[in-house]
């Protein structure tokens, strides 16, 4: 097994507030790491750091065998193609003045894919996320929330990334379309072998989709390990509290 993304001792402070305090993790190829915690626990800050959108005050992030924060501009630009973001709200993340096809071609161009392949690839991408090719001509406002999220996923997987960073990627969706998007993620993972860094406050979603879990509370790792162990037999009181909130809210 090879590690595609890992972090060691990440510390991030905003003024006197410590958002992350010594967080470490390891994400293997084709696996999903669920990041759980309540608002303010540092989940999104960690997501931004692994995409190098924020610089940590201490600690290292490795993308494959490269130190993400040791790359010069040219190498960083190439490295960034290997790690892609699936945003929380796809309707704000897609350019409203571009059709789906234009958005996908824009991404392929940025990824230095030869122009001759753009049309074929963008149609193929939509099929990978179970959307008909006709949607290439649609504008974002013509899509439902679930369709827009699948377009955002198609854009993220345009050039076979190694890691998808999903920041609350299904939280804004209605329950009935959430299942479709979760299935799309699972299918892509088995066909492409992409690893997922899956940030969510929804334990049911994380339990369904993740191989491993990292539980954050106020910037500290309170528990981590295989999903079955952590959520099945939580050792930490905070994890138990999170689980209680969910179990009491389940039907059955």
């Amino acid at each position: 097994m090879s590690t595609v993304l890992s972090a060691e001792g990440i510390v991030k402070r905003f003024g006197s507030f410590t958002a992350l305090d010594g967080v470490s993790f390891r994400l293997e190829r084709g696996h999903t790491l669920g990041i759980v915690g309540e608002s303010g626990s540092g989940k999104s800050t960690l997501g931004r750091i692994v995409m190098r959108l924020l610089t940590p005050d201490a600690g290292t992030v490795r993308l494959g065998d490269q130190d993400l924060f040791g790359l010069d501009r040219r190498k960083l630009r190439i490295a960034r193609r290997r790690i892609q973001l699936v945003p929380q709200d796809p309707r704000n993340a897609l350019n409203p003045t571009m059709t789906v096809g234009e958005s996908l071609r824009f991404q392929l161009q940025a990824q230095r894919v030869p122009r001759s392949e753009w049309t074929r690839r963008s149609g193929g991408l939509l099929e990978q996320v179970s959307l008909p090719r006709d949607y290439l001509h649609a504008y974002p406002h013509e899509l439902s929330g679930g369709q827009a999220q699948r377009v955002a996923i198609a854009r993220a997987i345009a050039n076979d990334p190694e890691v998808l960073v999903c920041d609350e990627a299904v939280s804004a969706l209605d329950k009935s379309v959430q299942a479709q998007v979760l299935n799309t993620f699972a299918e892509l993972q088995s066909s492409l072998g992409v690893a997922m860094f899956f940030i969510s406050h929804d334990l049911a979603v994380v339990e369904h989709l993740s191989d491993d879990v990292l539980v954050l509370n106020r910037g500290r790792t309170v528990e981590s390990g295989p999903t079955r162990d952590v959520l099945g037999a939580p050792q930490d009181p905070y994890t138990r509290e999170l689980l209680e909130a969910r179990h009491s809210a389940r039907p059955a």
């Binding site: 309540e38 329950k175 379309v177 299942a179 699972a186 339990e207 999170l242 909130a245 969910r246 059955a252």
Partner: protein, 321 residues
């Protein structure tokens, strides 16, 4: 055998706090066409009972709840009736509505940040509500009552919190303060529109438990709006609590909570419950709500399937008529 028009209704003997019948709401769309967002929905709310409106975005649940409590948007065209103590809230004069709303009908908003005045202290806002509705003879008495209300919603150090501004307390506390304002006049009905959705799960659960506890103690009827099946199961904790599933402006299934959530009959409700993510389902194999079920609008009228449990028939409108 009850007729379709009364399917799912409570027995006639049950005294209702609010009785909404055949409520329709439409908005003017483009080119003078009217878009119907709520289509002939009836619902009766009983004392110390929770009624959950379960639906996805765009199902019309918020518009329906606002309309039957006399808060329909001005641009809406409204039909039907909604009786509260003999007054039809759908066409009562503003003066009458003002007397009822906040006094006998309380509202808990989704986002407590927008319902509390950021420029005024928490205690002062509760005191104002009490004085406005004549629930306290003078300011000093209202202040004492405000502290009691904060204690009632489990706020620690209520005297200190009463002197705070809304931004100085956490989101969960703000929501509990909004509940304190809603119950300050001991209303007979509380409408809670997704009161836990903006909160962290564990905080949201506490807010829901608080509402559940209040209706038991105060006998309040609660209309609870949510998109979350888990939260619906949590708030509808008593055997007589009811769940109404809304889809495309209509109620497609209505019954007691255990009937609708454990033995759903309508294909939309069944698919919605089956689509809940769970570790027991292999990855990529989650049940999906079919698009033709989700977007279908021509369900038949509600028909009783067992006492108190009504389901919209799959038959198309024309075939039934």
């Amino acid at each position: 055998m009850p007729s379709p028009a009364t399917a799912g209704r409570l027995p006639d003997g049950v005294p209702l706090v609010l009785d909404a019948t055949d409520v329709s709401v439409s908005f003017r769309g483009s080119a003078a066409r009217w878009n119907t967002v709520v289509d002939s929905v009836g619902l009766g709310l009983e004392r110390s009972q929770v009624t959950v409106l379960l639906g996805e975005s765009g199902s019309g649940k918020t518009v329906f709840a606002r309309t039957i409590t006399g808060m329909a948007p001005r641009s809406a065209r409204v039909g039907g009736s909604s009786l509260f103590d003999g007054v039809d809230l759908l066409d009562a004069p503003a003066r009458d509505l003002r007397r009822l709303q906040g006094d006998r009908i309380g509202t808990v908003p989704q986002d407590p940040n927008s319902s509390l005045d950021p420029m005024r202290r928490i205690g002062g806002q509760i005191v104002e509500t009490l004085l406005q509705h004549g629930k306290a003879p003078h300011r000093a008495a209202a202040k004492v009552r405000a502290i009691e209300l904060l204690e009632l919603v489990h706020i620690r150090e209520p005297e200190r919190v009463a002197r705070c501004y809304p931004h100085e307390v956490s989101g969960g506390m703000r929501q509990r303060i909004a509940i304190a304002v809603a119950i300050s006049c001991e209303p007979e009905l509380i409408v809670a529109d997704e009161p836990s959705s903006a909160l962290d799960a564990s905080v949201g659960v506490r807010v829901v438990q608080l509402l559940d506890d209040l209706r038991t103690r105060l006998g309040t009827a609660i209309l609870f709006i949510t998109h979350d099946i888990g939260i619906a199961a949590l708030i509808a904790s008593q055997p007589h609590d009811r769940v109404a599933v809304m889809l495309g402006g209509r109620v497609v299934e209505l019954g007691f909570a255990h009937q609708v959530l454990r033995n759903p009959v309508h294909e939309y409700t069944r698919a919605l419950i089956a689509a809940e993510p769970s570790a027991d389902v292999p990855r990529g194999r989650l049940a999906v709500v079919p698009d033709d079920v989700r977007t279908r609008r021509d369900w038949g009228p509600l028909v009783d399937v067992e006492p108190g449990h009504a389901v919209a028939s799959a038959a198309r409108h024309e075939e039934v008529a």
